[in-house]
Every structure is written in structure tokens, then in C-alpha cells.
């Protein structure tokens, strides 16, 4: 693919925005409330599957199916969270990983979810199942409207790009406001020392559950947007590694800086998608099939180097890390 082709960069922008949402979901749980969820991708997967299943098998309207998908993600957050709000951080990390792996095994093996082929197989091997019938006209109408404004740049992907980034921008503003509110202060206190917070009359469990719910909503939204963007998805779209991409985006920007998320997301998008399609040296040394491995290798290397050299991210203050205990 030509790197000068704007359509390519629009697509990269959409992916970056969706990962940015996932990182934001992680932010509210990890950076704000101190809950190290290592299985965040499960929110995305569950929301996407619930939506697709409801549309394909139960003929539910797309909007309601989407809402139900997000509700399912929230329910999962609570299911994993209610026992784990009592657990210490190490254990929460493991419990959430276990939960997300369960979702992945189930979606890969159940007939209901289409097994390894994913959404297209939801009606069995003889039918080609789609869940975007109602989505296409909607996104087309947006594209038509945008074309009036910006001309031929407006494509379906471009509409999606606008949709994703407007959503992300609004949510970022909301979270920034929340973070500076008394509510955010309690969250931070819980991250630092939940017993101290409890000793001052703060209902720690309630706040942790709120963080889990919010993370579920935003993570579920990311899953639904992802499913709508790519049209067809399979369990492979929700590999456990995805959760770590979200961590990478958080760290790229700076763990405790909510407005750094879009920067991290763009950098990650370029790094990730860029290495997928670009073919100059040294990427030219390996063939396209193997480039997927090389791409992941590079992502891993960046994660390691970043954590080693600048763990506070680009905008974080090092002294905050030193105070950590």
C-alpha cells in the first residue's frame, strides 16, 4: 500500500482512536482507581459479540444491540470485579486475565459465536452472517453530509474517523473534569491507600465498582466501534496482547496524564499499522506473512525500551514514580 495514500492514514487514525478508547477505559481503572486489570480486551470482545449476536440471531435493532453489548461488558466488569475488589493488586491482575481468557476460549469454541471464523459463522457454515446492514446506510449518510463540507476526502473510513475521535475527545473532556472533581480525589486516594480512604468515611468498594463500570462502558464502546469498523471479526481480533497495547498507549503518553492518551494512541497507531503496511528497509527483508511477527516484535521492543528508559512516559514527571510505594 502506498504510504502517501491518505485513505491509509485515515484507517490508521480510526484504529488509533479505538485503541485510544480502550486505553481510556484502562485509565479509569488503573491510573485513577489503581485496579490493574490485565484482561481489558474482554470488555471489547464481549460487547462486540453481544451486539453481533443480537443483530444476527435475534434481529434486534443495531442501536439496542449496541447498548446491550455495552451492558454486557459492564456486567462482566462487575462479575470479575465484585469478588476482586477485595483482592490485593497482584490477584486482581490474575483474576482479570483469567476472566478474559475464559471469554476468548468460549468464543473460539462455541458454535453460537461462530467459533474460530468469528462473526461470519454465527449462522453456521452455510450462511454468511453480517451485522452491519443497518450500519452501512447510517455511515453512508454521514459520509454524504461530510462530503458537502470537506469534499472528496470524505469516505466511510473518514466518517468513522470523525465519529471515533469526537467520541474520544468528548470522553477525554469528561474524564478530565471528573479527575479534578472531589470524586476524582477520592479515586486517587483509593489508588494510593484504600484503608486510609475508608478511615475517612469513603465507601471504597462503591468507588471501585464505579471504576469497573466506567471501564466496562468505555471498553465496550471501543469493542463496538471496532466491530463496526472492520465489518467482520473473529476471536483473533481480541488477543490478550490487545490489553497490553492499551497499557503501551498509556505509558507512551504518561501513566497519569489523561490528555496524553490521544498522543500515545496516535504514536501507537503509526507504529503498529505503519509496520503492517510499509515495506521499506528493514521491513523489506521479510515477506508480508512474516511481517506480522516483525511488527509484534517491534511493539514488544518499544514497550521494553520505553519502560526502561522513560517509564513516566513523555509527559509524566519522574518524581511521581519515585514517590510510589
Amino acid at each position: 500500500m502506498d504510504i502517501l495514500n491518505p485513505a491509509f492514514w485515515v484507517f490508521v487514525g480510526v484504529v488509533a482512536g479505538i485503541y485510544g478508547l480502550l486505553a481510556l477505559a484502562l485509565y479509569v481503572q488503573f491510573s485513577m482507581a489503581g485496579l490493574p486489570n490485565f484482561g481489558h480486551v474482554a470488555f471489547m470482545a464481549l460487547a462486540a459479540y453481544t451486539m453481533a449476536l443480537l443483530v444476527i440471531r435475534a434481529d434486534v435493532a443495531l442501536v439496542w444491540a449496541g447498548v446491550a453489548g455495552i451492558a454486557a461488558a459492564v456486567a462482566l466488569g462487575l462479575l470479575l470485579g465484585i469478588p476482586s475488589v477485595r483482592l490485593r493488586a497482584n490477584y486482581l491482575a490474575i483474576a482479570t486475565v483469567a476472566g478474559s481468557e475464559m471469554i476468548r476460549y468460549l468464543s473460539t469454541n462455541l458454535n453460537l459465536t461462530g467459533g474460530a471464523v468469528g462473526s461470519v459463522g454465527m449462522l453456521g457454515p452455510t450462511h454468511f452472517a453480517t451485522y452491519t446492514n443497518a450500519w452501512q446506510p447510517f455511515i453512508e449518510s454521514i459520509t454524504a453530509a461530510l462530503r458537502h463540507a470537506v469534499g472528496s476526502v470524505a469516505t466511510t473510513d473518514f466518517s468513522m474517523f470523525c465519529l471515533v475521535w469526537v467520541t474520544l475527545g468528548l470522553l477525554l473532556m469528561l474524564f478530565r473534569r471528573l479527575e479534578r472533581s472531589p470524586w476524582g480525589r477520592v479515586m486517587k486516594a483509593i489508588r494510593e491507600d484504600e484503608e486510609a480512604a475508608a478511615s475517612l468515611g469513603k465507601h471504597v468498594e462503591a468507588y471501585k465498582l464505579q471504576a469497573l463500570v466506567l471501564g466496562g462502558i468505555v471498553g465496550g464502546l471501543a469493542g463496538i466501534l471496532w466491530a463496526l469498523e472492520i465489518g467482520v471479526f473473529s476471536p483473533d481480533d481480541f488477543q490478550p496482547t490487545l490489553t497490553f497495547y492499551a497499557y503501551l498507549i498509556l505509558i507512551l503518553g504518561g501513566m497519569n496524564r489523561v490528555w496524553a492518551i490521544p498522543v500515545g494512541a496516535v504514536l501507537f497507531g503509526v507504529l503498529y499499522s505503519g509496520t503492517r503496511f510499509l515495506s521499506f528497509f528493514p521491513l523489506s527483508l521479510v515477506d508480508t506473512g512474516e511481517r506480522a511477527y516483525l511488527r509484534l516484535l517491534i511493539v514488544g521492543l518499544v514497550l521494553v525500551l520505553l519502560m526502561a528508559v522513560r517509564p513516566q512516559g513523555m509527559f509524566g514527571k519522574r518524581e511521581e514514580l519515585l514517590l510510589e510505594k
Partner: protein, 301 residues
């Protein structure tokens, strides 16, 4: 009547299979639990250390056709060296960054190792030259020689490491470092030096476990260890972080529970592909009632 007899024998076979699988999990979980407890690293690359072991063994066994014993020793040495090398180059300089930060580093490390293996060794399934069709039929259970070796390795290695921790000076030193790192340093222990031994044990056991897993499975690819990574971390948490006997017990319990869950009289039997789900359910249930793990000690305020 015949059916009942058949089911009984099947149950024995499943328990046996579970013990073999559990032995591998215990073997690798033991290293992971020591690293987590003493070095304060939840090593998400542990599975990839195993995979690397399996490939080294393949190189020695198939490509260079050495004696299986030589291959086993070579594997253990190679993975121990890898673990120690990464400890000195990467993890030791970053100590004190907190568990989550170090875990993320090992996530990145795992991605690098796994995908490097895909690039170098390719994604096609590999198989050892070991004769895997030979089966010893003991009447009630059928035992493959590979499984026998695995069982022997686990039954000797785990208690040996546990005894080392309980009684030898090195073991006591390791426990002291796990307990209170600064005080250990003040007491005259070179804590960096101890890290070396911990990683030797962990790396060696991971390599051995990886080769064993590949052997028992029959074929393997670069995802071998990563596929069981979460089960290994489950074993660590089940047993109580840093607890060697806990890892042994956790591994065996998990292995047996996962296998026996497929026994038809048990609610019609869980389909084989859902075995890991059973494992994770066990973990989550246990954590609800005993967050510190089976043998871990509860902390009070």
C-alpha cells in the same frame, strides 16, 4: 456394568493425565513463583522461556541428533543462561519500579522472544525424534514413556527445590531476601548474587518444562509456552506467591481438576477444549474465598 467399568478406568486415566499435566505446570510454576516471590517480577515471558527450551531441545535432538540426555542438559543450560542474561541486562537495572511496571516489561520481552522465534524457526509444527507411539499398558492406565519421564522430572525437581529452600544456607538466604530485601542486604547478603541463583533455577525449570510439554503434546510451535502462560500464573497464585510446595500442589490440583472435568459422569463431562476455562473458574472461585492462595499466609492490618 461394562460401561461402569469403562467409566472407572477412564477416570483413572484422566487422573493420570491430569497428574502428568499438573507435573509440568508445577515444574514451571515453581520457577515462576520463586521469581515472583524473591525477585518481585510476575514474569509474563515465562511461557516464552519454556518455548525457547523446547526449540533448543529440538535443535539438539532433531537437527543435531544428540543423545536425549545431552539434549535435556543442553536445554536446561541454555534456558538458564537466557534467564540469567536477561536478568542482568534488563530486569536487574530496573528493579524497584514496582510490580506492574516490571510485569509490563516482561510482556514486551515475551512479545520479542515469541515473535523472534516465529521469524527464525517458522510457524510450522515441530516434533521430536523420540518414539511417541510406544505405550506401556498397565491395564488400568496407559502410560507413554514421555509422560513417565515428565513425571519423574517433576517428582524429583520440585521436592528438591523445596528442600533446598527449607534447609540449605542458599535456600534460607533466598527466603530472607524474599522476606525483607533491605535487611538481607544489611545482613551481608549480596542480593544481586541471589537473583542469579533464583533465575538459574527458574530458567532451568522453564526450559525443562517446555521440552516436557512439547514432548507430551506431540507437536509444538512458537506459541507453545504462551498458550500455558496464564495457567502457570494461575498455579503461582493458587499455591501462594513464592511458595514452592504451593506451586507443586497448585499445579497438580489444577492439572487433575482440568482433566477430570471432562469425565462424562461429571455433568456429562466438559468438552476438552474448555479445560482451561475450568482452570480459570477454579482460580476465581479460590481467590474469592482464599485470596492469599492455598498455602499463602494471610496478612493482617
Amino acid at each position: 456394568m461394562l460401561n461402569e467399568w469403562h467409566m472407572g478406568s477412564l477416570l483413572l486415566q484422566l487422573i493420570y493425565n491430569g497428574l502428568v499435566e499438573g507435573a509440568i505446570l508445577a515444574l514451571t510454576g515453581l520457577g515462576a513463583t520463586l521469581v515472583w516471590g524473591i525477585q518481585r517480577v510476575a514474569n509474563f515471558a515465562h511461557g516464552d522461556y519454556m518455548t525457547l527450551g523446547a526449540y533448543v531441545a529440538f535443535l539438539l535432538d532433531v537437527t543435531w541428533s544428540t543423545n536425549p540426555v545431552v539434549a535435556a542438559i543442553g536445554t536446561v543450560v541454555a534456558t538458564a543462561a537466557l534467564a540469567v542474561g536477561l536478568h542482568f541486562i534488563l530486569l536487574r537495572p530496573l528493579r524497584g519500579r514496582g510490580l506492574v511496571a516490571l510485569s509490563l516489561i516482561t510482556v514486551g520481552l515475551g512479545l520479542v522472544l515469541r515473535n523472534a522465534l516465529f521469524l527464525v524457526a517458522g510457524s510450522q509444527p515441530r516434533q521430536y525424534a523420540f518414539n511417541q507411539t510406544a505405550v506401556i499398558d498397565l491395564g488400568f492406565v496407559r502410560v507413554a514413556p514421555a509422560e513417565l519421564w515428565t513425571g519423574i522430572a517433576a517428582i524429583t525437581a520440585v521436592p528438591a527445590v523445596a528442600a533446598m529452600l527449607a534447609w540449605t544456607p542458599l535456600g534460607k538466604t533466598m527466603r530472607a531476601v524474599a522476606d525483607n530485601r533491605d535487611l538481607a542486604e544489611i545482613s551481608g547478603i549480596d542480593t544481586d548474587g541471589i537473583g542469579l541463583y533464583v533465575w538459574i533455577v527458574a530458567g532451568a525449570l522453564a526450559g525443562l518444562g517446555g521440552a516436557m510439554l512439547a514432548l507430551v503434546q506431540g507437536t509444538f510451535d512458537p506459541n507453545l509456552g504462551f498458550n500455558v502462560l496464564f495457567l502457570i500464573l494461575t498455579v503461582v497464585v493458587l499455591g501462594g506467591i513464592g511458595n514452592a510446595f504451593g506451586a507443586l500442589l497448585g499445579g497438580l490440583v489444577l492439572g487433575v481438576v482440568m482433566e477430570v472435568s471432562t469425565w462424562p459422569p461429571f455433568f456429562g463431562g466438559v468438552p476438552t477444549q474448555y479445560q482451561p476455562v475450568v482452570g480459570f473458574v477454579v482460580l476465581i472461585l479460590l481467590l474469592m474465598f482464599r485470596p492469599q492462595g492455598i498455602l499463602g499466609r494471610a496478612r493482617v492490618l
